[in-house]
């Protein structure tokens, strides 16, 4: 059977329900008339993206300023030149994706889940290339402290980003939460890279990178909870 034949069968089987009760249409018109007024459309995508990047950068810098730029001071020029542009690029991608999540029927090139996987993999690749100290000291205790510090900055960054885009509407709250969490997580990693002077490969690969998926999971959970509450 050819595709065209299936098309014909589908068209014939489609419900011919274009005879909608005029009363329903009238009722809809009446219901919106009372609150009909001019509205201001959302700002351009680039402006909202820039706003999100600014928020994330501000949270990272404020956190590092409060706790000290020890990591940045210890980094070589190459490490600075690779780590921060990589974080910036991933942050831009996550910010664009988040903006598109908050605009219904916006064009999507990468799904939030794929972006999270890509972001985590890219961070792992950059960290694995740059940090070659394979000693481990206080792996768990130092790691948990860094994960906690990263999340303490990731959560407000994600929430502030959500606040920036509160005029938008997420048709999928879980995906929007996931990408907001990813963006916040990148802000958290940025803060850790500025602050943490522990350059052990295992520490950075496990505990610094973990901030992104953990924060994304928290974001997705918040999105799910909001959707559940809205029902």
């Amino acid at each position: 059977m050819k595709d065209r034949e299936i098309d014909d069968i589908l068209k014939k089987a489609a419900p011919a329900s274009l005879d909608l009760d005029p009363l329903v249409l009238e009722r809809i018109g009446v219901s919106i008339k009372s609150s009909l007024g001019p509205v201001r459309p959302l700002p351009p995508v680039w402006l909202m993206t820039a706003g999100l990047i600014l928020v994330c950068a501000a949270v990272s810098l404020a956190g590092a300023a409060r706790m000290g730029f020890f990591g940045f001071a210890r980094m070589s020029l190459l490490e600075r030149a690779l780590v921060f542009p990589a974080l910036g690029l991933l942050g831009c991608l996550a910010a664009v994706s988040f903006v598109h999540q908050m605009i219904p029927a916006s064009r999507r090139r990468v799904s939030p889940g794929a972006l999270l996987a890509l972001g985590s993999a890219a961070l792992l690749a950059v960290f694995a290339y740059l940090f070659r100290d394979y000693h481990t000291k206080d792996f768990v205790s130092a790691g948990i402290a860094c994960l906690r510090t990263g999340l303490v900055h990731a959560i407000p960054a994600g929430l502030l980003c959500w606040l920036v885009l509160r005029r938008g509407f997420a048709v999928n709250a879980v995906s929007a939460g996931l990408i907001a969490g990813t963006l916040g997580g990148l802000a958290g990693v940025g803060m850790l890279e500025l602050h943490c002077p522990n350059f052990e490969a295992a520490h950075i690969l496990v505990w610094h990178t973990a901030v992104v998926p953990v924060s994304a999971a928290l974001g997705a959970f918040v999105g799910w909870a909001l959707r559940f509450r809205a029902r």
Partner: protein
């Protein structure tokens, strides 16, 4: 394929508070959205309720439409969101009803609108049914369906390909059965 060529223009006027544009949009889009809801195994009354709910949501978030962007996928994205919410609520309600049925034994069956299309699309997954309904019944383009379903064009193409494969198999089996029953008769 669209019932109105100037949906984007009407939408921009609606954002400026033009009631005539709003009513024209309601007249043009509602029958399509109603059919979209009907294609999802829904009664006419439920579809009309969801249509009203969709318009209230559209009205509330009309500022999220970006002038110059295709308007049709924007409407469908919101309708889809409302339908998914309704589906989740009904699943929870059905679970509650099942519990009640167990206790009372013998509740009256709910009236369902079983159309030929629903029967045809029954073997497909929910996401495949949705894509086929938008693409083949509503006449939307791949790009429009991708926008409305928050996915990529490649993902929509893949779903259509898999759905057609399944439909081809189902239709072949049906044709064979009909042929055999004809032979036996």
């Amino acid at each position: 394929m669209h019932s109105g060529e100037n949906l984007e223009l009407l939408m921009a006027r609606y954002q400026h508070g033009d009631f005539a544009a709003a009513t024209t949009l309601i007249d043009q889009i509602s029958p399509r959205l109603h059919r979209f809801f009907l294609a999802k195994s829904m009664s006419r009354a439920d579809a009309a309720d969801l249509l009203q709910e969709t318009w209230l949501r559209i009205h509330k978030i009309r500022h999220t439409y970006r002038p110059g962007e295709p308007a049709l996928p924007w409407f469908y994205a919101i309708a889809r969101h409302i339908r998914v919410d309704h589906y989740r609520k009904s699943v929870r309600a059905a679970a509650g009803e099942r519990e009640l049925e167990k206790m009372t034994k013998g509740a009256s069956p709910r009236p369902e609108l079983a159309s030929e299309l629903q029967a045809l699309l029954a073997p497909l997954s929910e996401s495949q049914r949705e894509v086929i309904a938008m693409l083949k019944v509503e006449g939307m383009s791949l790009e429009e369906v991708a926008r409305a379903t928050s996915s990529s064009v490649g993902s929509v193409k893949q779903k259509v390909h898999r759905a057609y494969k399944k439909l081809r198999e189902t239709l072949a089996v049906t044709a064979l059965r009909k042929f055999r029953s004809g032979e036996l008769a």
